[in-house]
């Protein structure tokens, strides 16, 4: 894998896959740690719908937050560090089990509340 990485072109809004290649979401946010006298380092990469909507403005983000509260298990967004990245190319593959991570909260909520109840949704 080549050394240089452009954070906007190659990382932001890139598809994130979990250990079993299942789509987890897109990189909606990048946490950059600014340090005194040392190069800024990427502290975390974030996959969270509300973070994405916040890029459009605070009002939109508040709406997204209200909505997300119904299915979010724990309040804070899903973050992973660069060291967890296993493969980096067209998509970013990370060492995480998607099923149990925050981005799948909506998926689980829908499965229990709606899909599970409809016959044939097995």
């Amino acid at each position: 894998m080549n050394k240089s990485v452009d954070l906007v072109r190659d990382v932001l809004d890139t598809q994130v896959l979990d250990r079993e290649q299942r789509p987890l979401g897109k990189v909606d946010g990048i946490g950059l740690e600014l340090r005194e006298g040392a190069q800024p380092r990427v502290a975390y990469l974030e996959v969270d719908g509300v973070t994405a909507w916040r890029r459009l403005g605070e009002r939109v983000a508040r709406w997204a937050q209200k909505l997300a509260r119904c299915w979010e298990r724990d309040g804070h967004p899903f973050r992973f560090t660069w060291s967890q990245v296993r493969d980096f190319g067209i998509d970013i593959e990370i060492e995480v089990d998607g099923e149990r991570s925050a981005p799948f909260d909506l998926e689980h909520w829908l499965r229990e509340k709606v899909v599970g109840r409809i016959p044939g949704g097995r």
Binding site: V47, E107, V115, G116, R122
Partner: protein
């Protein structure tokens, strides 16, 4: 051998899937009001859609991405959200028109008002998506869609004059009713270059796991599939011109369009029209619901795929469920189906640049396309037709609104 099957299937599905409520309604009105003189609009739309469909197949094959997925990555969330929302809204209007088309077909058959059919028809479309897999949905409806070939047969039984037909391909304004002529031309182009067509095609290429060996077949499918499909659309114009125009019948409601196959097939004509309308709209409704669920899932990075059971892709399945429900409500509200269809097609032409141009940028980005980037010729063709139809639409819609008051 598998490739050959893939190609023939690709062409068949494009023929069956090409015609929808938009092409039937706009072509019927065009033929009845202006005879052959709007054939050029279908041709123009077809040329553009051939390029766009070929490009969307090549894009998925080479980059491994779908279009929506890549537009977000290339332009960022804030840059992508406006074209995305506009396309979704138009998809909803077009889906409502498709469901409306099925309900009207049932109204013609039974006399029961179309609104009462809205929920049962919405449920039928939803049930097929909920229980069937991608192949059944795509291939089944397309094979049924071949019934629309009856319009082609009707041309020969009604004896169209080739010389007059050719004249229809030269664009020229009629002596009067310029505004309405322009509006129908734009609606035809919007009906022919429906964004969901190439978004669906690009997701299908990923779903069918097309690899590099499919680049040539993809070009073949796009060219022949779309051209055969558009020939049927042109046939509807010709049949309307031969069967309705001489009688002085202008198509304002589907009840009038339903007469157009009677001169060619007698008692069967009416039933063939109703079957074509219902099947074409049913196929298009399925494709449109899937295309919209695909684009929402690809925009937010959810797992997607019609081959996945609803439990495996709950967000994807709920996306098309919500979409169908909203569209059914629009039909239930009793909006005039023909007017809704024509305006949805015209609005499709207005927002076409918002989808086609970002896609054009992607097709010229070496990071995605490597050596398969677009040729200058296809860039120019797509750009010209897309901008032309958008400008025409922005002019035609207000005139039509003023005219019809």
């Amino acid at each position: 051998m598998k490739k050959l099957l893939g190609i023939t299937l690709g062409i068949v599905t494009s023929i069956g899937g090409f015609l929808d409520v938009g092409s039937i309604a706009t072509s019927a009105q065009a033929g009845a009001a202006f005879g052959y003189s709007l054939l050029w609009a279908v041709l123009l739309g077809t040329i553009c859609v051939i390029f766009l469909v070929e490009m969307s197949g090549r894009f998925s094959i080479v980059s491994g991405h779908t279009i929506v997925d890549a537009i977000r990555k290339r332009f960022g969330f804030a840059g992508f959200i406006v074209p995305f929302a506009a396309t979704l809204l138009v998809n909803l209007l077009v889906l409502a028109s498709e469901l409306g088309g099925i309900c009207v077909a049932l109204q013609l058959l039974t006399g029961i008002r179309f609104q009462l059919w809205a929920l049962p028809v919405g449920l039928a479309v939803w049930l097929l998506l909920w229980f069937a897999t991608f192949d059944v949905v795509e291939d089944g409806t397309a094979l049924l869609g071949l019934v629309t070939l009856c319009f082609l047969v009707a041309i020969f039984t009604l004896g169209a004059q080739p010389r007059e037909l050719a004249a229809g391909f030269v664009p020229r304004l009629p002596s009067e009713e310029h505004a309405h002529y322009l509006f129908i031309a734009v609606s035809i182009i919007g009906a022919t270059i429906a964004p969901y067509l190439f978004l669906f095609y690009s997701s299908g290429a990923i779903e069918d796991k097309w690899d590099k060996s499919f680049i040539a077949p993809n070009r073949f499918i796009a060219t022949f599939g779309m051209s055969f499909g558009s020939i049927i659309s042109m046939a509807v114009i010709v049949v309307a011109a031969l069967a309705l125009k001489p009688e002085g019948i202008r198509v304002e409601e589907y009840e009038q369009a339903a007469l157009m196959l009677v001169p060619a097939f007698g008692r069967w004509g009416f039933y063939l029209f109703v079957a074509s309308l219902a099947i074409a709209c049913f196929g298009a409704a399925l494709e449109l619901s899937l295309a919209s669920a695909y684009s929402v899932s690809q925009a937010f990075g959810w797992n997607w795929g019609e081959n996945l059971k609803p439990r495996q892709a709950a967000r994807f399945s709920m996306a098309y469920t919500l979409f169908i429900a909203l569209a059914a409500l629009i039909v239930l509200s009793g909006l005039n189906p023909m007017k809704l269809t024509l305006f949805s097609m015209a609005i499709t032409a207005v927002i076409l640049p918002l989808t086609a141009l970002p896609f054009l940028v992607l097709m010229n980005d070496a990071r995605y396309m490597r050596e398969h980037v677009n040729s200058h010729f296809s860039n120019i063709v797509v750009l010209l037709i897309v901008l032309l139809s958008a400008i025409l639409a922005v002019v035609a819609i207000p005139l039509e609104i003023i005219g019809s008051k």
